[in-house]
């Protein structure tokens, strides 16, 4: 009797599963050409044991993901959206689903409707972010004096006394994540500096893009190699994470979206970056904010570029805990805003070139490099949420300029090293 029941159940289950196979994840309708995208975040259960024959790999939660895919497909059908892709975010305990709204539908309204569903943690429209810098377009690779011929032209050479800083620290083995457009790994000033490179942008691979290559050079270009510039932290190891892309039209813009940035941030945190550079700005975003909070809670320093045209300097600079950096003084900028060199800065560019760049993006890159110097072994260890901000010392009261030397000395403590402090400097701990 039991045998017959068992056989009948096996047959019934097989039929049910076969019938359901055709309807799972079916796209409800085609999206219009200008479909806008919505992110839908579904809770992922903590990973746990599931006994069974495949016990050796029974913790990957493939079954749980299948359940969430089915829920996402149901939501997409119910809201007339097209399920585009998904991405797990285990650091947040969430799975992120991207859905496209048809032409004429507002992504913001769709996100608000989806957020009311009890099975949805929250939903938000896909935001677009922009790199906060411009390339002057004047390549300069003709000069061939000995070591780092463009060093004297670097604003930090004088303003931060970079050579003196390097006597104390080069940021040796500190991992700095550059979440940006493609970094040219083969650039003569960046060869060997990129430890990890990943792309989170769809489409064909590119060798290098302006913004990302420029930011990477400021942070960690090789020093004393006889070409180009010296990075602020030439001993740092770069994690080059392509989350942005360069537009074709002139002048080229650097754009990113919520999903590509979230993927890159997740990767950086998961792979233990110690500093994350975000030289970009856009609207506040819940998903990115959550990931930044995770990074800060783990002692990662997150540096953002300040955009004076966006409310509060734009996101992520406006996010609590992020070190916001501007290239120019900001009136009423408040104590959480720092200023660093970001005008007429020579840095690396694709094609093995160097060029002058301008913007808060590059000011932020300088600060990321400086924080890497403070985190070299023997300096400040990654710690609490506020420590990244605590290491920076303002050059004068009421101003946002950073006294890099005082910052480093403050972290390293008494040592057989020194760098002259500007006479007018008045160290004030920020934050």
């Amino acid at each position: 009797m039991a045998r017959r029941i068992g056989q009948a159940l096996l047959l019934g289950l097989l039929l049910w599963l076969t019938a359901s196979a055709g309807r799972s994840l079916a796209a409800p309708q085609a999206a219009g050409e200008d479909a806008r995208e919505v992110l839908v975040l579904l809770r992922a259960a903590p990973p746990h044991f599931r006994p069974g024959g495949a016990y050796g790999d029974a913790y990957a939660d493939d079954q749980g993901r299948a359940a969430r895919r089915r829920i996402a497909a149901r939501l997409a059908r119910a809201h007339g959206l097209t399920l585009v892709t998904d991405w797990p975010m285990p650091l947040l305990g969430l799975d992120c689903y991207v859905m496209a709204a048809p032409q004429g539908h507002s992504a913001t309204e769709e996100a608000a409707l989806l957020s009311r569903d009890p099975g949805v943690q929250w939903s938000e429209p896909m935001h677009v972010y922009r790199g906060e810098g411009a390339i002057a377009g004047h390549p300069d690779s003709s000069a061939k004096p000995p070591n780092d011929p463009l060093f004297a032209a670097q604003p930090v050479a004088a303003q931060w006394r970079l050579a003196d800083l390097h006597q104390m620290s080069t940021g040796r083995n500190v991992v700095v994540a550059v979440v940006d457009s493609q970094v040219e790994r083969g650039h003569p000033d960046l060869i060997g500096q990129v430890e990890v490179a990943e792309s989170f942008v769809a489409g064909p691979a590119v060798a290098g893009e302006d913004h990302g290559t420029g930011v990477a050079g400021i942070i960690a270009a090789r020093a004393n190699n006889g070409v180009g510039i010296a990075g602020v932290a030439p001993g740092a190891r770069l994690m080059a994470l392509r989350a942005c892309w360069q537009t074709a039209r002139a002048p080229p813009a650097t754009l990113c979206d919520t999903l590509s940035l979230a993927k890159a941030l997740h990767f950086a945190i998961d792979h233990r970056a110690q500093v994350i550079n975000l030289s970009l700005g856009g609207p506040p975003d819940t998903l990115l904010g959550r990931l930044i909070d995770v990074a800060l809670a783990r002692g990662v320093a997150v540096v953002g570029a300040y955009d004076r045209d966006l409310p509060g300097g734009g996101f992520p600079a406006s996010h609590p805990g992020v070190v916001a950096v501007s290239d120019t003084p900001v009136e009423g900028g408040g104590p959480d805003l720092y200023m660093a060199p970001g005008r007429d800065v020579p840095t690396t560019q694709p094609g093995g070139r160097w060029s002058l760049v301008n913007g808060s993006s590059f000011a932020a890159a300088h600060v990321s490099g400086l924080i890497a110097l403070t985190r070299q072994s023997g300096g400040l260890e990654p710690g609490g949420r506020e420590r990244a901000g605590l290491v920076l010392v303002a050059a004068r009261a009421g101003g946002g300029g950073i006294d890099a030397c005082a910052t480093l000395l403050r972290v390293l403590g008494p040592c057989d090293c020194a760098c002259a402090r500007p006479a007018e400097a008045l160290p004030i701990a920020r934050r």
Partner: protein, 246 residues
């Protein structure tokens, strides 16, 4: 002393199997309408291996699994395992059920506590009837590694108390590949016919495709005789599994 020959026609007798199967089927039938996270999967494998022992006598098997995850962290699930033999065709090999609670810590790792019940048809030599085991377990999952300790008061033999510790890990390769590995050590605490410690290893590669995945794994165990009391295993078994998620 010579062990009696196994009875290949011994049948799975547990009425609990039928009840569990009916419960699973009933849950499946309402699952698509419920807001909870319920998943179903079907797996076909060339050999149903459990901690280094073949529970399907080296024959192919198919299992249908159901998993439920609650928002609170509680989870439950079960599976019905069938086998396909040359002589008998499709048969029910057994069923399993589990219930647990997983708690995510601030550092992102997870503490996991639970219990499971295993009921299999026995191919064993010494004990007639089913091969059953009930266990409680505790584990810690951090990233791609997890560590578990299981205690059973009746590990495939009445009164056989054992501890089983295991470490599992996975390495993500370029999509869609993943490598995984497992090492487990079973320590007898008394009550069984065997007092030998036993280890098992498993390593393999997994390939994802669409809504499914393929898994090729190599498994070995020492000593080859098992608590399960089935036929001794060879030094290594290669098994292929295909899973579809629904």
């Amino acid at each position: 002393m010579t062990a009696p020959a196994p009875d290949p026609r011994r049948r799975f007798q547990s009425p609990a199997a039928s009840r569990a199967a009916l419960l699973l089927l009933a849950t499946l039938s309402v699952a698509p309408a419920a807001p909870a996270q319920v998943a179903a999967s079907a797996t076909v494998t060339t050999n149903y291996l459990y901690r280094g022992a073949s529970l399907s006598n080296g024959e192919p098997s198919v299992d249908f699994a159901l998993a439920y995850d609650d928002k609170s962290g509680f989870y439950a699930g079960g599976a019905i395992i069938g086998e396909v033999t040359r002589r008998e065709g499709a048969e029910v090999l057994g069923h399993l059920e589990y219930l647990g609670y997983a708690y995510r810590l601030k550092d992102g790792s997870t503490l996991d506590l639970g219990a499971n019940n295993l009921n299999y048809r026995s191919y064993g030599y010494r004990y007639a009837g089913d091969a059953d085991a009930t266990e409680v377990y505790a584990g810690w999952v951090r990233g791609s590694l997890n560590y578990y300790l299981h205690y059973s008061p009746n590990y495939f033999q009445p009164g056989a108390r054992v501890l089983y510790g295991e470490v599992n890990g996975a390495i993500r390769l370029p999509s869609p590949f993943r490598l995984f590995g497992h090492v487990g050590v079973l320590t007898p605490l008394g009550g069984g016919y065997d007092s030998k410690e036993r280890y098992d290893l498993r390593a393999g590669v997994e390939v994802g495709f669409g809504r499914g995945q393929a898994q090729l794994a190599w498994t070995t165990a020492q000593p080859t005789q098992t608590y399960y009391d089935g036929p001794a295993q060879g030094r290594g078994v290669l098994a292929l599994g295909l899973t579809w998620f629904f």
